[in-house]
């Protein structure tokens, strides 16, 4: 039996899905299309994580970004009052095109340079094994302080959001 490099094929498909959806996100004229196409990008990246045998990260990616962030995007887009026409809602800017092109090229140059110059270390271990337990031990062992700090930052952000929202509600009736 000819040995098919299935991992290679899977990588190609996933990369294509990720980049194709990302292109739609960037170029679609409809903000809802952009948002839904982001689903493909996020799932593609999750698939790449699976190929790298980071199974927990893949599940967390889908749970957090698809189940949380993307739904919030759609939610916000649906509540946007400025969308007047369902077909085109994302008119290209007449001004600032040159500036946008400049920034894009600069960013692309920086990313490509970094990608080519970095020596990407290969994983030392030769066995692909579940990663959840190891991640758990690392997060609650060696990295417990950064982990707890991150949760503190999230808590602060949440309280902050609450305070801002409360103020807006209170100010509402007096307007």
């Amino acid at each position: 039996m000819a040995r098919v490099d299935f991992a290679g094929v899977a990588f190609a498909v996933l990369a294509l899905l990720t980049l194709g959806s990302a292109a739609i996100v960037a170029f679609a004229r409809n903000v809802m299309h952009s948002a839904v196409a982001l689903l493909g990008t996020l799932c593609g990246v999750a698939g790449l994580y699976v190929l790298l045998s980071a199974d927990f990260l893949a599940a967390a990616q889908v749970l957090v970004y698809v189940g949380g962030t993307l739904i919030l995007f759609l939610f916000a887009a649906m509540l946007t009052a400025r969308i007047e026409h369902a077909e085109t809602s994302n008119e290209p800017l007449a001004t600032g095109r040159k500036a946008a092109a400049f920034v894009t090229i600069l960013l692309a140059f920086a990313l490509v340079t970094i990608a080519l110059d970095t020596i990407w270390p290969l994983e030392e271990k030769t066995v692909a094994l579940p990663s959840t337990a190891k991640l758990g031990h690392a997060l609650l062992g060696a990295y417990v302080l950064p982990f707890e700090l991150a949760s503190l930052v999230l808590l602060m952000a949440m309280v902050g959001a609450l305070v801002i929202a409360r103020r807006a509600v209170k100010a509402g009736p007096t307007e």
């Binding site: 299935f6 689903l39 199974d55 749970l63 509540l79 369902a86 692909a128 094994l129 190891k134």
Partner: protein
Amino acid sequence: MRVAVRLLALVVVLLASSCARDVGPQLIEVVDLAPHEVEAGDHVEVLGVSFPQGKHAKVTFRGQLHRPGEKPDTAEIAVDGDATSSTQIAIDFTEGIQQLFCGVAESSAHTTFEGDIEVSFPAATAGAPAVNATLHAVTLDVRPPTPRRALLDARKIEGERALAYVGIKAAKTSPPSGGIVVESVEPGSRADKAGIQTNDLLTSLDKLRLTSLADAIPSGKHLATFTLRRGTAPAELTREVPIDGYRASPPADLYGAAILVGIAAAVLLLFMAPTAGFLTWVERRVAGRMQSRIGPNRAGPQGMLIWVADGIKMLLKEDVIPKAGDSKLFRLAPYLVFTGVSAAFVVMPFGQYLIAADLDVGILYVLAVTSLVTIGLLSGGWASNSKYSLLNGIRSAAQIISYEVPGAIAVACIVMMTGSLRLQEIIHAQGGWPWEWFLFKNPVTFALFCLYFTTALAEGNRAPFDLPEAESELVTGYATEYSGTRYLFFFFAEWANVFVMCGIAAALFMGGWQVPGLSTGAQEAHFGLQMLGALVFLAKAWVLIFVVIWIRWTWPRVRVDQMMTLCWKWLVPMAFAAFALCAGWVVWSPGRTVQTAIGVAMFAVFCVGLARFAQRIRYNLRATHADVRLNPFL
């Protein structure tokens, strides 16, 4: 062999000790370590000279830890021992020490220690120097706790692959003394060039002692160093084999996995379709009985085939796509919903081996893929370009995001109590009898079940949380503009989702496929018992499905503000409290007897409650003289 080593050591010790007395200052000496292969529960003895008897000793292992497929780890491990005689220090090799050598839980592996051991006795009087001695070049082979079978199999496959890469075919059985027998060497292969021959006994690889194929994973990138015995020659030979180009394989063998997943998907879809269809019939019949009607009873016996007739009807209907809507998203939405629900079937544990993929992230995967359903509902609601549909989309998003919080915490509590995300392990943590289930483990887990069940109802858009559909106010919400097959897809997914949520609840809280009175081992041994386990699982799921239907036809729909109040003001704080209590329970971790007593008491209270409930209903029926026929078949 081991006896001989000890005798030899003893002789050396005796000779040495008789000499030592003449020397004057009492210096200790370390001679050997026995045995050289240990696992948790063993006793390790450090043999030496002039140990102060009865004194407490500190033994430090300083050197390299070799594990399969990992770079050697430098370690310094200090353990406690007691000098039982002047020639022996006994060390209890506990699980804690084993962990220091082999690593923790999932990451633990067979480890060979190579390095020095230092024995030191604290000073007898204040100010005097501590007495210590060091022995160089010691090896100690430490066996890990028995790993999970899937893990062991994965390592074995990897070891076989590594050996095949250098051109070695290993014999299936290895001799009792350890090592791997070379069955054949591929001519011209790397191993052949390095001088490994057929019938050689490979004893170690990169300094790790080989006991099975699972150990045969090289830890370096360029060179694998084998030691081997040839024939009856006593000396070990060393052979270095270049392994440039050998690298980590992607998870499992993707090619085989893809075929398996394909077959599993086909089987599951074949299972999912009749389940969802049959469920519609059950729901309509139960609803009928609850409302003193008959319900569908024409197509097939008792109307059981109504879902086939419905399906055909739907397929023949005109497919309408609103002109003013967003046709692309409109078409995409049903697929997203359907994919999200059917993907959850992948980890549904029908039986010990009746599971498409026992993912290590099992329950997290379920939570993740079901979020696709929300995206589908949202985009469907938007794409219809109708205010009813849009309203539902927003309601649905708000509802699902809110209820995900307490639901995920409830699941996290169960994960905390089992220590695994894998659904099969969560089932294994429970037992067959009801009092061994998580449902009746303690009052907190019972509350967690109610919490999970409520949030599952809300996330599945089931009554009393069916606001996104709300036939009477939003004309079935997101499905308003859909017709024919696309409409069918939405509702098909909804019915299947009811099964998914009940199946997951049965696995998480009700012991899954375990048959009462049988150990999992006994159940595994017999095919018939495995099938019985699958039936037990389905029965539990269907009981829960009946409860879902029962709730739908007896409770009124809640209002939007009530829904939000219930979630954020009641369920979320309750979930956090339950999480804290669960953590307390894990810390307390009561003994088996206490645990069983609590379980039985909980179950008894539940049974009494159930009996009281039934009594009450009988009384009410008699008191109101209602004309109710309890026979379900009409």
